[in-house]
């Protein structure tokens, strides 16, 4: 199984049809759907802190279209906050959302993790040492 993790700009691109990278991120979702059709399960995950940073409020009517893409929340609960804090403590980043991405990749059961990000360097820092494929958007 593959897990695709969205960072802030990936969410913003997905949220806004006029965003210059909207089609690029949609292509990644379409690819996931295509693979599912071939029997290869791909799930898409968004850390809830990333949703906060990107302004994705699932309860708002404007988010209805985005909510339909079955992007699963990875919640910043107590244990996840501990892991995210450890990511910050080693100096990888100072952003809560970025640290939450790092905690998310450590938590997902999938052995095949892809992070869609506009900032591959920061993502590499927060995800290390978990093996991930970082796709720059």
């Amino acid at each position: 199984m593959r897990t695709v993790v969205l960072d802030n700009e990936a969410v913003q691109a997905l949220t806004r049809v006029a965003h210059p990278k909207h089609r690029v991120v949609v292509a990644h979702l379409a690819g996931a759907a295509s693979r599912r059709r071939r029997g290869r399960i791909t799930e898409t995950v968004v850390p809830t802190s990333v949703r906060v940073e990107a302004g994705w409020d699932r309860s708002q009517p404007g988010a209805a279209a985005l909510n339909r893409f079955r992007v699963r929340d990875h919640v910043l609960d107590g244990p996840t906050a501990d892991v995210a804090a450890s990511v910050v403590a080693v100096g990888a980043v100072t952003s809560v959302a970025d640290a939450h991405v790092g905690a998310t990749v450590r938590a997902v059961a999938s052995g095949d993790i892809v992070v869609l990000s506009s900032d591959p360097r920061d993502m590499a820092a927060v995800c290390s040492p978990t093996p991930v494929t970082i796709v720059a958007i």
Binding site: G31, S34, A64, N67, T133, V135
Partner: protein, 137 residues
């Protein structure tokens, strides 16, 4: 109920974590039931045939939801629909394939594949592109 409402209701039901079960009147071919039982009992395919059937049904429904959500999104925003080449490029990037650095090769492959197989998917394009590169290098 229109497609959007149907999609929202299916999503709501898929997200419902209520573990209550029901004896369904759904009728399965006997041979299929027996094959599943054998796979569970002798090959350890799942913890039970019920688990196996429920997981397969969930996977199928999630795929249908993703595909329908994308279709409806494209109907509302035609410019948001990525080309087959763009989807293939996204998958190449997710796969960490060297083809991700060769968008022209992927575009050419998409064009060639679609000319012969109008129903081709992104993986068909990647396979074609890889084969073309193999014979030309």
């Amino acid at each position: 109920m229109d497609d959007l409402s149907v999609l929202d209701e299916i999503n709501r039901l898929l997200d419902d974590r209520d573990d209550a079960t029901v004896n369904t009147s759904m009728r399965l071919p006997v041979a299929l039931r027996d094959a599943a039982a054998l796979a569970v009992e002798r090959l350890g395919a799942a913890s039970s045939t019920t688990t196996m059937a429920a997981a397969a049904l969930r996977d199928a429904l999630e795929t249908i939801v993703m595909e329908t959500a994308l279709r409806l999104h494209y109907e509302a925003h035609p410019d948001a629909e990525p080309s087959l080449a763009e989807v293939a490029l996204a998958l190449a990037a997710q796969d960490g394939s060297p083809l991700a650095e060769q968008p022209d090769a992927i575009r050419a492959a998409a064009e060639a594949v679609l000319a012969r197989h109008p129903d081709a998917d992104a993986d068909d394009v990647l396979l074609w592109a890889e084969a073309q590169l193999a014979v030309t290098t």
